[in-house]
């Protein structure tokens, strides 16, 4: 998934062109709805009702099916997220090593709960069942960066790196 944030912001039209191009390239592949939704979320950051309709139309799939799929999978977001998404791993290893305390500290620090975004759109907070970095438990992920051996004390310094 390429990161688009550093580029000049594309217009919506350009974004939809990009998505259409991707759909066209893969038209002959079977069951390609989910990869298209991934692509759309990469381009737009989330899947708005407009984007969902566009996908349904372009792929000739009933909108109800598209919505059914989008809402089934927790990875797909229906609302725009903050610039950085902080994900707290709540896998077993992290849990037994105190992930709950870290989540509480983050909620307190950011003033938001899981699934919410700060008012300044800087951070969104989420939780994951396992990030697969159990060896470094407890871990959090900010964007794509995994931060291991976390403690409530270390949070401030790490979160501050993300503007």
């Amino acid at each position: 998934m390429e990161c688009l944030c550093k580029e000049k912001e594309l217009t919506d039209e350009q974004k939809y062109d990009q998505l259409k191009e991707f759909i066209d390239e893969n038209r002959d592949k079977k069951g390609y709805l989910i990869p298209v939704l991934h692509k759309a979320q990469t381009i737009f950051g989330y899947l708005s009702s407009e984007t969902r309709s566009f996908v349904a139309r372009e792929m000739d799939i009933a909108i109800s099916i598209v919505v059914g799929v989008v809402t089934f999978y927790s990875y797909f977001k229906l609302f725009p997220a903050g610039r950085h998404t902080i994900t707290v791993c709540l896998g077993t290893a992290c849990y037994v090593r105190g992930a709950k305390k870290i989540l509480e500290a983050l909620e307190k620090k950011l003033g938001i709960k899981i699934g919410e975004t700060t008012e300044d759109r800087r951070f969104s907070l989420g939780a994951q069942r396992c990030l697969g970095a159990c060896g470094l438990a407890p871990v959090i992920m900010i964007g794509k960066d995994i931060h291991g051996r976390m403690s409530a004390q270390k949070l401030d310094a790490i979160v501050e790196q993300y503007k």
Binding site: F72, G91, A93, R129, C130, I146
Partner: protein
């Protein structure tokens, strides 16, 4: 390229990257260039090496030197010293946990030594981004062999013969799966690789995809050839971006090299692989749900049959294996089924990868022969439990698995044995938990997980898990009822029987397993409103008070001490524990082990503060007595449990008399604990205070011999608390033990404390590793002997307090480990003792390794006195000869076996409640259970004070020849300052209650 003399393998697994491996690589490249040796040395980035905890890690070849926790600033030294001058950088070596011994060579590290790598054979050895490295390690040779030398039938035969079973969890035979799919009709078939590794705590699939993606692709092609498929899908979690990236790159490289695509090796075989990303649905790990997801639908499972072998992806016959299963295939084809099958157990062949995580020293990824005992994995490979804590249980198999408690460490880790214990092999997540884990909360955690991930298609899973979660949440919040446990069991059974797919069918497993092994903990939550691990916040006042057997309000007396209000501090203490001076000296202070200040620097020195406040004057600090009711109670035994019980009952208004057979009161406090640890005048002072409070003590009166319980009944005593202690020593049945130069540890201490003359001679040997052994040894030393402690296990297993062991050694006492006595005989006024060396074998029920004699290793030594301190048992005398009646209660060591003072006090509280209930029907609340609000200002927003834990003051070694007390009490300033370090963990609790 051939003149490279050194390869530096730098782990680029996900964990090492997040620990900074990328900047290490940059720094290494720079330092190598600056040294001008870029043509001699290459830094190769590899997949996960397994030791995630130690990252970033590197291995320097050809030497095989292993460096851990490498930082970019170490690069210069590695290049200048190691690469140029051949001098290894020792400070980056691996240090063995506990012993701190340095190990430099990769092959010498236990973590690696005991492993056997098949599925992970290339992980951490080759650069996953370079197809040539894969080819160099025999990559694609298995595919070549299959395509050119083997028929599809032969391939399937080989896999069947290997005994390989699915590594994703259920353990279905892989060869059979292929055979069934091959036998299905239809032109189009598919090979699917399940890389939707969802079990929390398992990350081997991610590591294989990141570290050796080609091996999975090659295996999928071999499978395609065997079953007649030309299309493969890898279904991988979206949460694994690095795995997706590396796999995509590998596919690209294979296509470029015509190893993937059409007419592979000119044999006419075609195969293509496509990656499909999951989107965060746990249920998609279930095969039918996964295939629905690839088809672009909601990932809901469907009933089986039809099985995927007949009707799978897009309704075509499909083989679905997980990543680790595929990673074994090329090895089997190249080395043969027999080679693979030679490892493992009868029913479970080969090796299995496990992810070690949780409370264990060496976390990471390991691959071991199936059937290795669980204890070997945890202690030998995993390096044991950190911070001197105790292993409680091991969770295996994720949310579908169970927990294995410490008494089953000998279980061979294979599919069947684990199942017998209520766990499953699952995908191989192995989470180690120490006693800070609450098993009820763990069950609740898994249920919450399942509840969130249940797809909702079938009712038992959707609704049943909801109900179970609600019940478990109630129990954790102290609102559980005893019949909840039956409901949980009933629901577990129903959900298992009636759910549609594997997710629901296995969902109750964590509850079943914890109820089976840790039912006591559930009951404590429900009945006593207590969470022994200190996790369930609604039930925990503060971690220190929670773990204290007497539930002393630690934050309160620390807060008052900080303010200088010592009277109030002592008052708080005396409400729950009438022995602050004694406990301030001999308590093993579990409170400090749980102190949250440990996370910042180190625990508050709670015991030493306690010792200081005990200097205050008692009588005016005792709690008010309730109205006297005139009911007489007899307490038998004046040890800490008996006296405390008398104290608590006096507080409630009873008329209590304590009967003691010895001339002095105090039991073990007076007669067993040596006075250099606990001076007699301290014990006397506290007992005197109790007498002033109203407790009556009759010494020199042995109940049973001098007066019977029946006679006491006649004298209007209405209840009896029996706390006669555990004074009878356990003696080993060995030859020559009946000798005047052989003494039991307690007898020895009794004699010395009673000021009887004991001649120790020159050489004394004490057998045992508990507190009695250490007390005896330090006492004998003070009487002028050369003392050696002989213990049959290792230091880690010694039950004595660490501080006591250290002081014993400081005082010049030798400790010989892994030895035991075999026989004793008298020779010329000396004692000749035959010792034998021991080794540790399999694990016993306590989770420790059993010591066994090493054959022909015995040796003799002449000594003057042998003290045996290997165990004690309750001293009952004739008390129970007439049977146990309703008015008789027991507590302290006589009930629990040898334990601590504070444990005896806790016993006394519970017994006082039981006696009160028996006599008067009980009351709403008992004073010792009420945590009064702390009237000391506290600002939770303020930074905690920064000063470090104050040191205890010990008298110099040269002054330790007499029985002068070793430790000194702090002055007021030190104590108040130390008390101020408390973080006031109780603070929020009160707020919530209001």
């Amino acid at each position: 390229m051939y003149n490279l003399r050194t390869h530096i393998l730098l782990c680029y697994g996900g964990a090492c990257i997040s620990s900074g491996a990328e900047s290490v690589k940059e720094a290494m490249d720079k330092a190598i260039n600056e040294a001008g040796i870029q043509n001699e040395v290459d830094v190769i980035t590899t997949g996960c090496m397994g030791t995630c905890e130690l990252g970033p890690i590197m291995i320097v070849y050809p030497d095989g030197v292993f460096y851990q926790k490498v930082k970019p600033e170490d690069a210069e030294e590695i290049v200048q010293e190691h690469l140029l001058k051949g001098r290894v950088v020792k400070r980056l070596f691996y240090k063995k946990p506990k012993t701190e011994e340095m190990v430099g060579m990769f092959n010498d590290i236990d973590f690696f030594k005991l492993q056997k790598k098949t599925a992970l054979r290339n992980c951490g050895i080759i650069n996953p981004l370079d197809i040539e490295e894969y080819i160099a390690s025999d990559g694609y040779m298995a595919l070549g062999k299959a395509l050119t030398e083997m028929t599809p039938c032969k391939v399937i035969e080989e896999i069947k013969g290997s005994g390989l079973r699915g590594r994703g969890g259920a353990g279905f035979p892989t060869g059979l799966k292929w055979e069934l799919t091959a036998a299905s009709g239809g032109k189009q078939k598919y090979v699917v690789c399940n890389a939707d590794e969802g079990d929390p705590g398992a990350f081997m699939d991610r590591s294989i995809l990141e570290g050796d993606p080609h091996s999975v692709m090659e295996a999928m092609m071999i499978c395609g050839y065997a079953i007649g498929a030309d299309q493969g899908y890898v279904y991988v979690r979206a949460e694994y971006p690095l795995a997706v990236e590396r796999l995509s790159l590998a596919i690209e490289q294979a296509k470029k090299n015509e190893l993937l695509g059409e007419n592979i090796f000119g044999t006419g075989f075609n195969f293509d692989i496509e990656i499909r990303m999951g989107a965060g649905a746990f249920v998609c790990g279930e095969e039918t749900a996964l295939m629905r997801s690839i088809e672009g639908m909601r990932g809901e499972p469907r009933p089986k049959p039809p099985f995927p072998a007949q009707k799978g992806l897009f309704d075509c016959p499909t083989v679905l294996n997980n990543v680790e299963t595929f990673a074994n295939i090329s090895y089997i084809i190249l080395h043969g089924a027999d080679d693979f099958a030679s490892v493992g157990t009868e029913k479970s062949r080969g090796t299995k990868v496990f992810a070690l995580a949780g409370d264990i020293n060496n976390t990471g990824l390991i691959e071991i022969p199936i059937g290795m005992p669980l204890g070997t994995i945890i202690y030998d490979i995993g390096g044991g439990i950190p911070n001197n804590k105790k292993l409680k249980a091991v969770q295996i198999g994720g949310p579908s698995g169970g927990c294995i408690p410490v008494q089953h460490l000998n279980v061979p880790v294979d599919y069947e044995s684990l199942q017998e214990l209520g766990a499953i092999m699952g995908s191989g997540g192995l989470i180690v938990m120490d006693d800070d884990t609450c098993m009820v909360d763990l069950a609740r955690y898994f249920m919450e997980f399942i509840q969130e991930e249940s797809c909702g298609k079938c009712t038992p899973c959707r609704q049943g898990t909801r109900i179970m979660l609600d019940i478990l949440t109630d129990i954790c919040n102290g609102k559980g009822r005893m019949d909840d446990l039956d409901i949980l069991e009933e629901l577990s059974f129903q959900i298992k029987q009636t759910s549609l797919c594997g997710l629901g069918q296995t969902a109750p497993n964590p509850i079943i397993a914890t109820l089976k092994y840790f039912r006591e903990e559930y009951i404590e939550h429900i009945r006593d409103k207590k969470c022994r691990a200190g996790v369930c916040s609604k039930l925990v006042y503060a971690p220190c008070s929670n773990v204290c057997p007497a539930s002393v309000n630690v934050p309160a007396y620390l807060a008052y001490t900080k303010e200088g209000n010592l009277k109030q501090a002592l008052k708080v203490h005396l409400k729950t524990n009438p022995f602050p001076a004694v406990c301030g000296r001999v308590c093993p202070h579990q409170c400090e082990a749980k102190c949250r200040r440990n996370d910042i620097d180190s625990a508050v020195s709670i015991r030493s503060v306690k010792r200081f406040i005990a200097e205050e004057d008692y009588p005016e600090c005792f709690p008010e007595k309730q109205n006297p009711n005139g009911i007489k109670i007899a307490v038998i035994g004046s040890g800490p449990s008996g006296l405390s019980n008398a104290y608590f009952l006096t507080m409630l208004g009873y008329d209590v008399t304590v009967f003691e057979s010895e001339p002095k009161a105090g039991g073990m406090l007076t007669y067993a604990i040596p006075s250099y640890r606990l001076p007699n005048n301290i014990v006397e002072k506290e007992i005197q205070a109790l007498c002033e409070y109203g407790v009556k003590i009759r010494t020199n009166t042995n109940v049973g011999r001098d007066i019977s319980i029946d006679e006491l009944r006649e004298k209007e005593f209405k209840a009896f608390y029996i706390a006669s202690g555990a004074w009878d020593s356990i003696m080993p049945s060995i030859e020559g033990i009946d000798n005047e130069k052989v003494m039991a540890g307690l007898d020895f201490l009794y004699k010395v404390n009673n000021e009887e003359k004991v001649s120790v001679g020159k050489e004394v040997v004490v057998i045992g590793g508990g507190n009695t052994a250490i007390d005896a040894a330090r006492t004998a030393k003070r009487l002028g002997a050369d003392v050696t402690i002989v213990y049959r296990r290792t230091r880690e297993e010694m039950p004595a307090e660490i501080e006591e062991i250290k002081e014993a050694e400081n005082e010049g006492i030798k400790i010989q480990l892994l030895q035991n006595i075999k026989s004793v005989k008298s020779i010329n006024n000396k004692l000749e003792v035959e010792f034998v060396k021991m080794r540790l074998s399999e694990f016993d029920k306590s989770g420790r390794r059993k010591p066994v004699e090493i054959e022909a290793s015995s040796f003799a030594k002449k000594i003057d006195l042998l003290i045996l301190a290997i165990g004690q048992k309750p001293s009952l005398g004739t008390l129970f000869d007439k049977g146990l009646k309703k008015d008789m209660f027991a507590g302290g060591d006589v009930k629990t076996g040898p334990s601590t003072v504070v444990e005896a006090i806790g016993e006394a509280q519970r017994a006082a409640e039981a006696i009160d209930k028996y006599l008067t029907g009980g009351r709403e609340e008992y004073p010792w259970n009420i945590m009064d609000p702390i009237e000391v200002d506290f600002d939770p927003e303020e930074e905690p004070v920064s000063h470090n834990r104050a040191k205890n003051i010990l008298i110099p070694l040269k002054e330790r020849k007499s029985f002068t007390e070793v430790e000194k009490t702090w002055n007021r300033e030190t104590a108040c300052k130390e008390a101020d370090r408390c973080l006031r963990c109780e603070y929020k609790k009160e707020e919530e209650d209001i």
